[in-house]
Symmetry: C2
């Protein structure tokens, strides 16, 4: 199997497959005589594992850890659960932050006429007319 086939079989772009190899997330593939990378079912399975972990929002670093645990037949499931739980916390924090932003924005949008007149509470708020900053929802966006 060439990289293109592995790509469509796994849903990971060829670009990304090479990148994952480069950063050591997956082992360097064997090459055929023409210097093309050669993949088997095993590799495709791994790529699908990675894809799914990414879909669940795990970083490549977390994915690497999960991958190692997956391949470690004697792992303790608590190790995996810890990573998942931490990740859930992470997601929930970011969700809460964004919900705060939405709440503020909805309020402002609600107060804004949205017509052809210049008066706009959204801009007034951004400008901090009622005295300055950090009344904002969350301080850091990438918390």
């Amino acid at each position: 199997m060439n990289i293109g086939e592995a790509s469509s079989a796994s849903g990971v772009s060829a670009k990304m497959i090479r990148y994952y190899e480069e950063i050591g997330l997956i082992r360097p593939m064997g090459r055929s005589g023409n210097n093309y990378r050669v993949y088997g079912e095993e590799e495709v399975h791994i790529l699908r594992f990675i894809k799914r972990a990414r879909n669940l929002g795990f970083s490549l670093e977390e994915t690497e850890t999960l991958l190692k645990l997956w391949q470690d037949k004697s792992r303790e499931s608590s190790a995996v659960k810890e990573i998942a739980t931490a990740h859930i916390g992470d997601l929930e924090r970011r969700i809460a932050e964004m919900q705060g932003m939405v709440k503020t924005l909805k309020h402002l949008a609600h107060c804004c006429g949205g017509d052809n007149r210049p008066n706009c509470p959204i801009l007034d708020d951004l400008a901090g007319d009622g005295e300055m900053g950090d009344r904002a929802v969350g301080k850091k966006i990438h918390a």
Copy 2:
């Protein structure tokens, strides 16, 4: 006012102030004899505007538009409201996506013993044992 003072007055790091100038988000500052950038209240006000927009999750590009609208005394508030509303939609989409991830992960974590045995439904799921991928929550993480 030097850049350090402007930074602590606005909450925007000196690094970022220079960057904003470089990309044209703010006008190049006047320089004093020693080649130091010089800021006044006006500039600090603008920096705070930017800071607050960023806190609300607007991109720098959106922030630039908002900034121009702010300075355009004859703007129509509908233009601002449109941006805000679009941004709300954006945030809500991302929130929904993450909530889906959380839901899936919570279910998996709930089913995982989290003990010293290797058996782990989380990994089983990532491996796609019940037939392959895209049962995942959202296809793309950065939708």
